[in-house]
């Protein structure tokens, strides 16, 4: 028996809807988790290099704790574990309002925040200390020096590894299907089950992830070019070889 291709399942009726919803949920969970990861990572990365001892210790604990447990386990933990600590009413409310989305978003953001943190720390530590001293000697506080000088320089230097981590985050959002988040992978599986068109559904899923990630890479490449610090090596030109 030969397999009958039917690509129309990707855009027609109910299944087409599912695919669109999947893309939109993947983008939503990724963007929110990325923001959370960015804030947590920048804060904890900065605190590890400059914070008062209890804060830098806390940041180190955060990084080691969250990056050393599989993402899948965190997803389960945030979805099945954490809600049990909440009062009954809060639990009911959460499960009536898309608890799986928020649990998945938190797991993804907190896990990648720990990884972002190490990227930020390595960037900050590559900046000469005299740069900080120059800022402090004009009367800026350490926090201000970090906010206006150190972190802006570090982030510009770190765009390639940040891109790397961001792509990982986007792809890892697919793990959220295990707790029932109706994201892209979840929806391709559903289309496959419903129509038995596994090849079409999975091809669509593959290509959509590819396009989303390539789009993000291209965006970051433009950002890298526009934010480049004048005077640093961007690319050795042929004349310089």
């Amino acid at each position: 028996m030969r397999y009958q291709f039917d690509w129309s399942v990707l855009w027609s009726g109910q299944t087409g809807q599912w695919l669109l919803q999947g893309i939109s949920t993947t983008l939503e969970i990724s963007v929110l988790a990325w923001l959370l990861a960015g804030v947590l990572g920048t804060l904890s990365g900065a605190l590890r290099t400059a914070g008062p001892r209890p804060f830098s210790a806390l940041s180190a604990f955060y990084v080691e704790f969250f990056r050393n447990v599989p993402l899948l386990v965190w997803m389960f933990f945030w979805y099945f574990g954490i809600p049990l600590l909440l009062p009954r009413l809060a639990q009911d409310w959460l499960f009536a309002h898309g608890a799986e989305f928020w649990a998945g978003m938190f797991a993804l953001g907190v896990y990648h925040g720990a990884r972002f943190s190490e990227v930020i720390r390595s960037g900050i530590q590559s900046i000469p200390k005299t740069q900080l001293e120059a800022a402090l000697s004009t009367g800026l506080t350490v926090t201000q020096a970090y906010r206006f000088v150190i972190i802006p320089i570090a982030l510009r230097l770190l765009i390639p590894p940040i891109t790397n981590e961001s792509l990982n985050l986007l792809k890892n959002s697919s793990v959220a299907l295990t707790i029932g988040v109706a994201e892209l992978t979840f929806q391709t599986r559903q289309i496959e089950t419903y129509t038995a068109k596994a090849f079409e559904a999975l091809t669509a899923g593959t290509l959509i992830y590819l396009v989303l990630c390539l789009g993000l890479s291209a965006f970051m490449a433009v950002l890298e070019k526009r934010c480049a610090i004048p005077g640093l090596i961007a690319r050795v030109t042929p004349a310089e070889h």
Binding site: P128, E133, T138, V149, P230, G231
Partner: protein, 267 residues
């Protein structure tokens, strides 16, 4: 703010401002000791710098001269003794370090401009964030400072697109933007090509003429001779000699000073 600009732009006003004050010690080292691990980098330093005075600190490398001036705005902590700036003890736990640092301009050997900001924004950052000036006001003031160091045409340039001498002049303008009472210079011309040294020294000479209190670590003996009120010689963490430039260069007392001078003044 307008007053401040007048002060900065018009050197004569500053000169008057400073000479009207009676002589007053602004920086005082009292038996200061500092160690890096087991290395004793400052040994029982005793030193007073008066308001409006220009002090040049020289000595062989590793003698502690950079450390000496880095202690004044507490970029380096000391282990014993006391440093007073404008009567305030640096060891006082209630010291407002931030306020103190705004009164002390610091110029580094490696310029340390913020590479992601234009010359203008390098200068406006601290006045806006520390003093809370509005952008327009801060920029107006910064442009006046750039003009003062001969860099008004380069306001929009990034540090990487400026020569070393130009970068250092912007760094001096950045330090002046907080209207400091004291300026510290840590080998400001040591990273510069010979032809750029003079443009920086000229800016520093003008500052000195306007009555700024200055402590300058430098190997530029011409500057010491012409501009300094006092020359200090350090070796192995000790303050060996402090004299007027005439005496220092013509009749140094210590044999170590003589040896040092014979090495750097090769003619």
């Amino acid at each position: 703010m307008q007053n401040a600009i007048d002060h900065i732009v018009c050197g004569a006003a500053i000169c008057k401002f400073y000479t009207d004050e009676t002589l007053f010690t602004v920086i005082e080292f009292q038996h200061v000791n500092k160690w890096y691990g087991s290395l004793h980098v400052l040994r029982d330093i005793q030193l007073k710098i008066e308001r409006g005075e220009v002090v040049v600190v020289c000595g062989p490398s590793g003698s502690g001269k950079s450390t000496l001036i880095r202690c004044i705005n507490r970029l380096e902590p000391i282990q014993s003794g006391e440093i007073l700036v404008d009567g305030r003890q640096l060891s006082d736990p209630r010291l407002d370090l931030r306020a103190l640092r705004t009164e002390i301009g610091f110029v580094f050997q490696q310029f340390n401009l913020y590479p992601h900001m234009t010359a203008l924004h390098n200068i406006t950052l601290a006045p806006m964030k520390v003093k809370g000036l509005a952008r327009a006001e801060a920029e107006k003031f910064a442009l006046a400072l750039l003009e003062r160091v001969g860099m008004q045409d380069k306001a929009g340039a990034y540090p990487a697109n400026l020569s070393g001498g130009q970068q250092q002049r912007v760094a001096i303008a950045r330090a002046l933007a907080m209207q400091p009472k004291i300026m510290l210079f840590d080998e400001p011309t040591s990273a510069l090509d010979p032809e750029m040294i003079n443009e920086v020294l000229e800016v520093m000479t003008n500052l000195a003429k306007e009555g700024m209190t200055m402590a300058v670590v430098t190997h530029e003996m011409g500057f010491a001779r012409q501009v300094a009120h006092r020359v200090i010689f350090m070796d192995e963490g000790q303050l060996i000699e402090q004299e007027s430039p005439e005496t220092f260069f013509k009749a140094p007392k210590s044999p170590r000073t003589k040896l040092f001078l014979s090495k750097i003044l090769s003619h």
